[in-house]
């Protein structure tokens, strides 16, 4: 089978394994599927890591924005405002230019030299931007959910003598997640979509190792035929979106398991979030 050879050559091309040279002529459907699928690894890498790390910062920011102390509230509000109010594309550019200006030999902090060179590479630099960006968007979602935690739940917590960390951990936080989860699912889907921007902003694709859209536009440029590579990307992303909805739906069921009746099915409404 010829296609198996292509898969073994190019399946991990985006990570730098396998054949270095990209196909130049006579593009087969198999090559396009394999290379674009290989690029998807980067989209998944960016999306999963940014979401996983952004979740914690988002919770902290949401709590900060709901704080009574202006000294905590204001920075959180500004952070959310800046990252939600400006295009991700500009954020990528700005971050890249900032990272480039950092001294090459690293920054001395308390006698320890912090390496800065990897920040100009996409795998780290773009991840930082995506992490901050998704934190801001998720924080706004969580903040909205935090404000709609039912009053009765909090009164009941007080009545049971829960306070401070225990009250947050056992009452406020689960309820906040439960209320915010459908919107958070949308945010996750949007984040995966946003990962396609990485290699179209300043971050260079080192040795032509890019994400799915990078390879798709490579093929579209070479063949001058957009009708094959872009639908392939679309196909991969629809599958990814369905997987995200499935995974987040399971979490949603778990978060709602104590509620009477079944948990409401998450409906994906893209326009209502960002």
């Amino acid at each position: 089978m010829e296609c198996w050879d292509t898969i073994s050559e190019y399946a991990f091309r985006s990570l730098g394994y396998g054949t270095r040279a990209l196909p130049k002529t006579d593009f087969t459907l198999c090559q396009q599927f394999t290379l674009i699928g290989s690029g998807m690894l980067w989209n998944i890498y960016f999306g999963v890591l940014a979401l996983a790390s952004g979740f914690f910062l988002a919770t902290a920011l949401a709590l900060g924005k709901a704080s009574e102390t202006a000294l905590i509230r204001k920075p959180c509000e500004w952070f959310i405002f800046i990252f939600r109010g400006s295009p991700l594309f500009i954020q990528f550019f700005l971050a890249y230019e900032t990272f480039v200006l950092l001294p090459k030999e690293g920054i001395e902090i308390f006698g320890i030299t912090a390496e800065t060179r990897w920040l100009t590479k996409a795998w780290a630099g773009a991840l930082v931007v995506l992490f901050l960006n998704t934190s801001a968007y998720s924080a706004e979602i969580f903040y909205g959910a935090l404000r709609s935690v039912p009053k009765g739940d909090l009164e009941a917590a007080d009545a049971y003598g829960l306070s401070g960390w225990a009250r947050f951990r056992r009452i406020v936080w689960p309820t906040m997640l439960r209320l915010g989860w459908p919107s958070y699912t949308n945010e996750a889907i949007f984040l995966f979509h946003a990962t396609t921007l990485v290699f179209f902003s300043s971050f260079p694709a080192w040795r032509q190792s890019g994400d799915a859209l990078y390879y798709a536009s490579y093929f579209a440029d070479k063949t001058f035929n957009p009708f094959i590579p872009y639908p392939i990307v679309a196909f991969y992303f629809i599958v990814l979106t369905l997987l995200v909805i499935w995974g987040f739906g399971r979490v949603n069921r778990r978060l709602n398991r104590h509620m009477p009746g079944q948990a409401k099915k998450i409906r994906y409404r893209p326009q209502l979030v960002r």
Partner: protein, 293 residues
């Protein structure tokens, strides 16, 4: 621009900055802000029209039309919008050229797709190879507008079809009881009432659209991102003034520009929401009524 800018050696500090920021290339760059605003002004109504058509088609009684509308609204859901941007710009271009080719050169015998090339007869080229530069630029911009309108039209169709469903059914039933035809009840009852339900979604969509405008750069339009890169870079093709890498400052300016744009939009949209809530049987409308009474 200023008269004292003619002697470069005399310039220092603020007067240098004033001269630097008003040189010819910078004035062109400021004009590209107009390009962005113009794109927004043209695309928003166009996308709304596409969305309205899509939403109407999605609730049509004719099955093929309904499938078309539903397919249109759902296809952009799972796929990143930038994929559509990159796709439609080439696909529309080739589509137009192909149509013109069919009309203008019917006796052309060679195939259009030759290996890795897309060749139409010279008369069908868009724009014609003899056309002046501004025609090429305008054509590129129009393609970008159409692409934006199609993609955001699908989002808008989603919002509008939800809003149409949200109008209380009793309203339509009452209209029918008064003897209105389906067309009349649609235009006189449903459409005027749906906007308040559509507004939160449409506001979000506007924000999305504002934040998608830098993607114009990827479509090959000389927009503000293009100019920020060219003017800020140490040495560009278009800007010969030697200076260190100042792109950071240019992108910071862009950041501020977009932040103020979204902030202004938010204030204006808040006002429109209040205006449209007037007299509505919703929570906000009721609050306004009580405040006035």
């Amino acid at each position: 621009m200023f008269s004292n800018c003619t002697d470069p050696s005399a310039l220092e500090g603020l007067s240098w900055l004033a001269c630097y920021l008003t040189n010819g290339k910078h004035l062109t760059a400021y004009a590209s802000v107009g390009t962005v605003l113009f794109l927004l002004l043209v695309t928003a109504p166009a996308a709304l029209a596409f969305g309205f058509a899509g939403a109407v088609a999605a609730r049509s009684r004719v099955a093929p039309l309904r499938w078309l509308g539903q397919g249109y609204t759902s296809v952009v859901r799972g796929v990143p919008d930038i994929v559509f941007f990159l796709f439609f710009v080439i696909a529309l271009d080739q589509g137009f050229e192909w149509m013109r080719h069919q009309v203008l050169c019917p006796d052309w015998s060679e195939p259009i797709r030759r290996g890795n090339d897309f060749v139409v007869c010279p008369a069908a080229k868009l724009p014609l190879s003899t056309a002046p530069q501004w025609v090429h630029e305008t054509y590129g911009f129009l393609l970008a507008v159409l692409t934006f309108a199609i993609v955001f039209g699908a989002f808008a169709a989603n919002v509008l079809s939800g809003a149409m469903k949200a109008v209380p059914n009793a309203q339509i039933e009452t209209a029918q009881a008064y003897g209105m035809t389906e067309r009349q009840s649609f235009w006189r009852i449903l459409v005027p009432q749906m906007w308040i339900f559509a507004l939160p979604g449409l506001s979000n969509l506007w924000m999305l659209l504002v934040k998608a405008t830098p993607l114009l750069f990827l479509l090959g339009v000389e927009d503000i991102v293009y100019w920020a890169r060219e003017l800020g870079g140490t040495k560009g093709k278009v800007f010969a003034y030697p200076h260190p890498d100042w792109r950071l400052w240019y992108f910071l300016a862009l950041l501020v520009f977009y932040l103020s744009l979204t902030q202004i939009s938010e204030v204006v949209l808040g006002r429109i929401t209040r205006r449209l809530s007037r007299g509505q049987a919703t929570f906000a409308g009721e609050k306004q009524r009580k405040a006035a009474a």
